[in-house]
């Protein structure tokens, strides 16, 4: 079997700060201060930027020594948390930015879809945009002409093809944009999260189109936060963490490896975590979940009464007021499931002198079965809402199916919704169609 793509020891390094200033005068100031006067950098940020574990002083390795190869016709999933280097890797493969070191061999025509509808112009008609977008993605006019009807057909926009796309509904726009992309004549396709757009029906159609193209011998690299999409499309997946490739194998194994990543980060006590953002006047020391009898729990049952608790400490020595605290609950497929906050919980702004516990009491947990993680934060309750402390993935927990409705069985779907069912007697529907009459 021939190789479609071989990635050999590819790294991408960003020097923090030195590329960020963006104006010549700031760069001159920095050069004067650090190189001539031998003082500190006047422009360095006071709080260190978020650290995903891939920093090395001022140097950030967005991608670090990544190697893998892809056989012709294979479909590979790329998974990893936010900031793991997936997007940078795709940008290098797509030649949007050059690697710092390493080498990539590409065998065939490569098309990348980091976004759909790149270069769409609202003033131009659907027809013109198909040619423009197709051209930007590397198709030649004869190729586009040959597949034009298919593209229009797939997008379901026949009657609007000569209307400027700015008059399109957002659904039509996305369908057209994806349709052009789906009809690219490339040997290797890189697809980044683009399926997150459009309605469910169209998403399914796109997934179908992608699996069709993979069975037609096309090589596909697919990045998504939707683990169900990854499982459906990719037999093999690679996992990225802090810029490095940490796992490469069957998707099933890759997913369990990926889920374990959440546990290992959590293993370090919250108070000692360095990957936090915010100006740090107040810090979150711990976050946990208690059941009705005040015991800490890791597994929750739908319908249970729970208290989410956060211990926070004032680091300044004098009272800090006008604060708001919150917890965001996320599914492992990175879907923002629910939020708990002092504002929503009716407490309003509060102040902290030394240390305190903020509690969020949930009478009946309505989220259904799944693996979840939570982010916790403390910030100003008004004004710029500036964060004092924000920790992503502060805790993971599991929810088991429970008897939310008190009927001895669990509900279906993502959440249980409290509802009442009733019947109402109405007059029989009189159907005047001849057939109905004949039966009647």
């Amino acid at each position: 079997m021939t190789l479609s793509l071989s990635v050999e020891n590819v790294s991408k390094r960003y020097r923090l700060g030195t590329i960020g200033s963006g104006t010549a005068s700031d760069d001159i100031k920095r050069w004067w201060s650090t190189k001539i006067m031998r003082r500190g950098d006047p422009l360095s940020p006071l709080m260190p930027a978020i650290d995903h574990g891939n920093r090395d002083g001022d140097i950030l390795w967005a991608v670090r020594d990544v190697s893998f190869s892809v056989d012709e016709g294979a479909v590979i999933g790329i998974i990893g948390k936010n900031g793991a280097g997936k997007s940078t890797l795709l940008k290098i493969l797509s030649q949007i930015t050059a690697p710092t070191s390493g080498r990539i061999r590409v065998n065939g025509r490569l098309a990348s879809l980091l976004e759909v509808g790149t270069g769409f112009n609202g003033e131009l008609t659907g027809r013109d945009n198909i040619y423009l977008n197709g051209g930007i993605l590397g198709m030649t006019p004869p190729e586009i002409r040959r597949r034009f009807d298919e593209i229009v057909d797939f997008a379901e926009i026949e009657e609007f093809i000569d209307t400027p796309v700015k008059r399109y509904s957002s659904g039509m726009y996305v369908r057209l944009a994806f349709s052009v992309a789906a009809h690219l004549e490339a040997d290797i396709m890189i697809i980044d999260e683009v399926l997150a757009v459009g309605d469910i029906g169209f998403q399914k159609k796109c997934l179908g189109k992608i699996s069709d193209s993979s069975s037609a011998g096309r090589t596909i690299l697919f990045v998504s936060h939707r683990m169900d999409h990854i499982t459906a499309l990719c037999p093999r997946s690679i996992v990225m963490q802090a810029g490095s490739l940490v796992h490469d194998g069957p998707t099933e194994d890759a997913l369990s490896y990926y889920y374990r990543l959440f546990d290992t980060v959590e293993a370090s006590p919250l108070a000692e975590r360095l990957d936090r953002r915010g100006r740090g006047r107040v810090r979150v020391l711990d976050v946990w979940i208690e059941n009705q009898s005040g015991e800490r729990v890791e597994t929750i049952i739908t319908g249970q009464t729970l208290v989410f608790k956060m211990r926070i400490r004032n680091m300044t020595g004098k009272t800090v007021g006008n604060l708001s605290a919150g917890i965001g609950i996320f599914s492992f497929s990175n879907m923002f499931a629910a939020s708990l906050s002092t504002t929503e919980g009716g407490l309003g702004a509060f102040s902290v002198e030394d240390e305190m516990i903020v509690a969020f009491r949930v009478e009946r947990m309505s989220l259904n079965q799944g693996q979840f993680y939570l982010n916790c934060s403390v910030r100003s309750a008004t004004g710029a809402y500036e964060f004092d402390d924000l920790i992503e993935n502060a805790k993971t927990f599991h929810i088991d199916y429970g008897d939310f409705h008190g009927i001895g069985q669990s509900g279906g779907g993502f959440v249980s919704i409290e509802h009442h069912a009733e019947t109402e007697v109405v007059e029989a529907h009189t159907d005047k169609s001849p057939q109905a009459n004949a039966v009647g």
Binding site: G119, E123, L132
Partner: protein
């Protein structure tokens, strides 16, 4: 997918590309994109405007009127014995071509960052499109100029074009080369330093005053004339005026010099652009 249409090509992506490797064959493969972008700019640019493409000729026309009144009637600057309207219009048109090419190219990375950060195609397509689109607008402006020229010829106020008018394509080519060179060089710098983009339009304004747009070369004192000719745009405008209005002479030496400077700036600009384009999106 027909196998014949498929370009089965193996290539490598590496940290550095040869300094002289401009990948012109790749540019040629993407040539159709130039026409698509041109079409976009020309069609989309004038949709939902009342005057449409008339906007191409209105600004130079207004500038001509203003220059004729201020520099001609009030300041009484020489127009080398030619009708003032034609004198200023020719300068404004030729300078406008160069200026639009430079300013457009200078913002290559910043104006296209939305596309550049998502899709790869040879980045040179963008400055190339810009120059060709500007050439089309200038051609339309030239038709307006030709109309005025014929009117003044009918009135026997000017002698009209001579054989050197055939140099026009060469004049445009030299201006375009110089503009691509200077423009892409500036784009490589403004990709990193945004504040320099303010300097570009200001610098171009100063450059205009250093060029024989509002005055003829003949009104520059003899001992400073070589200084004026150091500016490669001066010979181009002087030649244009000689060709169509019969003023002065063709500065052949100056024209050759302009060609050499344009060629050199084009080469340097392209080499630096080639080096910068691979990581420009990290800094924009």
């Amino acid at each position: 997918m027909t196998d014949a249409a498929r370009i089965q090509k193996t290539y490598t992506i590496e940290p550095h590309r040869g300094f002289l490797d401009l990948r012109l064959s790749e540019l040629w493969r993407y040539r159709h994109l130039v026409f698509m972008f041109m079409r976009r700019d020309l069609v989309a640019g004038y949709k939902q405007t009342i005057l449409g493409p008339l906007w191409l000729v209105i600004p130079p026309l207004i500038s001509t009127v203003v220059f004729t009144i201020i520099f001609g009637e009030i300041a009484q600057l020489s127009s080398d014995g030619t009708p003032r309207v034609l004198f200023y219009m020719s300068g404004i048109m030729m300078w406008g071509y160069f200026n639009a090419c430079v300013v457009g190219n200078a913002s290559t990375f910043t104006s296209q960052s939305g596309i550049f950060s998502k899709v790869y195609f040879p980045r040179l397509i963008v400055p190339l499109t810009n120059v060709l689109t500007t050439t089309i607008s200038t051609t339309i402006q030239f038709l307006m100029f030709a109309g005025f020229l014929m009117y003044y010829m009918a009135q026997n106020l000017t002698e009209g074009p001579n054989i050197t008018a055939f140099l026009l394509p060469l004049l445009l080519l030299v201006s375009a080369s110089l503009a691509i060179g200077v423009g892409v060089l500036l784009s490589a710098i403004t990709a990193k330093y945004r504040d320099l983009s303010f300097l570009v339009s200001y610098g171009m304004q100063l450059w205009m005053y250093a060029t024989t747009v509002i005055y003829p070369l003949s009104s520059v004192p003899e001992k400073y004339r070589f200084l004026a000719l150091l500016n490669p745009m001066t010979s181009i405008i002087e030649t244009f005026r000689h060709a169509f209005l019969g003023s002065g002479v063709v500065p052949w030496g100056g024209l050759l010099y302009s060609g050499v400077v344009a060629g050199a700036s084009l080469t340097i600009g392209l080499l630096i652009f080639n080096m910068v384009e691979r990581t420009a999106m990290d800094t924009v």
